[in-house]
């Protein structure tokens, strides 16, 4: 079969056979369920307002509890969603009875005469409640102070519960932390997707060699057609599975409204998808070449170990780039095909890469993919018809028919 036709036939078979296989359908279903569960469960289990039980002894506690509720209400008002936490009081006649209740866990903390806060242990357990009580007590004192000066108490509480400083980032724009967050989430997804779909090409190639069908195929197909078709077919299937999962997550989020989705910057999204395709191409082609060196599935993992290490390295470099997008490391790794797909989208999301540099990295990676495909096809050609043990990279390279 000549040229692209052969490649497309191979890709089509991968799509059909793999897409219909139980393994694919089950893994898709499991991923969907996991993603939906990851969104829904925390909200059901941990969502909504918390009710605290606070023990009180003596006088002077009521104002603090009222201030605590007001602060909680003000926080919710500032966030624009949710319900404020509820604080219920339990009165104790003396310290010993309060202490035993606290030890039993019937109450979360005990307030004594508006001056002492009794906590269950000295650990950092529920220090946020302690912090909020301190804040409330502080506001009550401030309130008394300003009341003597005739100021409105509400203003004080308002100021205390707001963030009076406006935050800005070095790169201008609003530093709401959304862009790095999205970049990080996208990076994580991409890392997982590239590694899982790359592993499919690895096992796919090894299987063809293991069940010896490869010799029949190579009687009509060139190795690059088989390699290219496999990478394309599995890539399309991966993109379908990936988009379905993301779409399902999006629908669930929209329908339930559990998580607030910020408006995604279109440029960053396009770049993320583009780099996913490039990254997948780099890794899938390399994984296929690694797979052609082994005849047995159990050898495949060890043959591909160096590649997996490269991906892990790329991932760590990109996390470093999240903190330091202008560093020399980030700049250099933007031009290395195995790390660029992880690093460049991060730098782009942080506006740390100009359009020209971005274009240059894309071109560099595209060019290296061309060389990678040629090199991988040669290794693939040399490795495919050598059965039995593991084929050494050098041997495969040398024995390749071209």
């Amino acid at each position: 079969m000549r040229g692209l036709n052969g490649l497309l036939l191979v890709a089509k078979r991968e799509l059909r056979e793999r897409g219909r296989s139980k393994a694919f359908l089950i893994s898709s279903a499991v991923t969907l369920v996991l993603v939906v569960a990851a969104i829904v469960l925390p909200q059901i289990l941990g969502g909504g307002p918390t009710t605290y039980q606070i023990g009180v002894i003596g006088e002077g506690n009521t104002e603090i509890i009222t201030a605590l509720s007001d602060l909680a209400a003000a926080e919710v008002a500032a966030a624009g969603e949710g319900e404020p936490d509820v604080f219920e009081t339990v009165e104790f006649p003396d310290r010993p009875t309060a202490s035993s209740s606290l030890a039993e866990g019937d109450v979360d903390m005990v307030l004594i005469d508006g001056t002492v806060l009794l906590r269950p242990t000295e650990t950092f357990g529920d220090s946020s409640l302690a912090g909020r009580l301190q804040q409330a007590a502080g506001s009550v004192r401030l309130q008394r102070l300003v009341e003597e000066n005739g100021q409105a108490a509400a203003d004080v509480i308002g100021i205390l519960s707001s963030n009076p400083l406006e935050e800005e980032s070095l790169r201008g724009g609003e530093g709401d932390g959304t862009r790095p967050m999205i970049a990080y989430a996208g990076l994580l997804l991409m890392y997982i997707a590239i590694l899982s779909y790359g592993a499919w090409t690895l096992t796919g190639v090894t299987e063809e060699k293991n069940n010896r069908v490869v010799e029949v195929l190579l009687a009509t197909l060139r190795p690059w057609q088989l390699l290219g078709g496999k990478v394309l077919g599995i890539g399309l299937l991966g993109i379908i599975q990936f988009s379905l999962t993301v779409a399902a997550a999006y629908v669930v989020i929209r329908v339930t409204g559990f998580i607030e989705v910020p408006d995604l910057p279109v440029g960053a999204l396009v770049s993320l998808v583009g780099w996913f395709v490039l990254g997948y191409a780099v890794y899938a082609v390399s994984y296929a070449a690694a797979g052609s060196l082994t005849s047995r599935p159990e050898d495949a993992q060890s043959a591909s170990f160096p590649l997996t290490m490269l991906a892990v390295a790329g991932f760590f470099v990109s996390i470093e780039a999240l903190n330091n997008p202008d560093s020399t490391l980030a700049r250099v790794t933007s031009f290395i095909p195995f790390t660029a797909p992880f690093v460049v989208p991060i730098r782009q999301a942080l506006s740390a890469i100009g359009p020209f540099e971005h274009l240059a990295t894309v071109l560099a990676v595209l060019m290296s993919i061309v060389f990678l495909v040629r090199g991988a096809a040669r290794i693939y050609a040399g490795g495919l018809l050598r059965f039995g043990g593991r084929v050494k990279l050098r041997e495969a390279w040398r024995s390749a028919r071209l």
């Binding site: 079969m1 036939l9 010896r212 029949v216 190579l218 009687a219 009509t220 018809l385 028919r401």
Partner: protein
């Protein structure tokens, strides 16, 4: 016509092919014989470009074999292999398409071949669910799906039961009769002698004997001579020339003679000596020729 022209191939210090030459003619079956490791598989792989020879050419119709030629070739490799989880008919259809057939044509041909090989009811079964013998049949269909002009089969008879052998032989004869050039390797020499028009014997990477079965046998310098009387007591005439060896068991005589022996004189002498029950004069079997060629 497929012409294998002076192929050389070395793997490190080991010479797999060292001047291998022979031809496969359309409409004829050629048995490719040789001890293990003589270079049969390497030669067949060279036809499909799976091995690049260090020297020599593989020609089809007088021109070096190219990608388009291979679409019209059928190949059954020694290491059988199909996708285990793919349905038999789908698998054949896919291989048909790889040989340039359209989707519907490939589908029709796949079902026709499964029918022909007695697997019509297994078309929708995954290959791994078929018995070993039935997987072999699917493998044969895979090589035949596109009506190839050249059929190359590496050990097609190994592992087949007598019925399987008969089916395979029938299909190969039929393809040759339809005009295809058929090349297959085998260690079953009696079968090859029965089935093939031509043979090529390869030894240590070099074809040491090639030609039609009849010619090769006729060209042998020896003949078997065997005759049997109703009564014992016959003695070979002292004057008979060209006897290499002889043995007598009662009234039965078996001789190995040179091919230029005067058969008529022997027959006349025997007829004069008494009543003859049996008189056989034949060239050696292919097995003997093979052993002599590679021994």
């Amino acid at each position: 016509m497929l012409l294998i022209d002076d192929l050389y191939k070395a793997y490190g210090d080991i010479a797999a092919l060292a001047g291998c030459s022979f031809r496969v003619v359309p409409g004829r079956l050629l048995g490719f014989l040789g001890p293990n490791g003589a270079g049969k598989t390497t030669t067949m792989r060279a036809v499909f470009g799976l091995v690049t020879p260090d020297r020599g050419r593989v020609l089809w119709g007088g021109k070096p074999v190219g990608v388009d030629d291979r679409l019209r070739f059928g190949y059954m490799p020694e290491s059988r292999g199909l996708y285990p989880k793919m349905k038999a008919a789908d698998q054949l259809g896919y291989l048909g398409r790889l040989h340039g057939m359209t989707g519907p044509d490939a589908r029709t041909a796949a079902l026709a071949w499964l029918e022909r090989l007695g697997l019509a009811d297994r078309a929708a079964d995954a290959v791994e669910k078929l018995s070993h013998g039935n997987q072999q049949r699917v493998q044969l269909a895979a090589a035949l799906i596109h009506q190839p002009e050249l059929l190359v089969l590496d050990e097609p008879f190994s592992g087949l039961d007598p019925i399987g052998v008969e089916t395979m032989a029938g299909v190969l004869r039929e393809r040759a009769a339809a005009g295809a050039a058929v090349l297959f390797s085998s260690h079953q020499l009696d079968l090859v002698e029965d089935l093939c028009d031509d043979v090529a014997i390869i030894h240590q990477g070099k074809v040491v004997k090639a030609g039609s079965v009849v010619e090769i046998k006729d060209a042998s310098p020896v003949r078997h001579l065997e005759f049997e009387f109703s009564e014992p007591g016959y003695r070979l005439p002292e004057s008979l020339e060209g006897v290499i060896s002889s043995q007598t068991e009662g009234n039965r005589h078996r001789l190995l003679v040179r091919s230029d022996v005067d058969v008529k004189a022997v027959l006349a002498d025997a007829l004069a000596a008494g009543q003859i029950r049996r008189f056989i004069y034949t060239p050696p079997s292919l097995s003997e020729i093979f052993l002599e060629a590679v021994g």
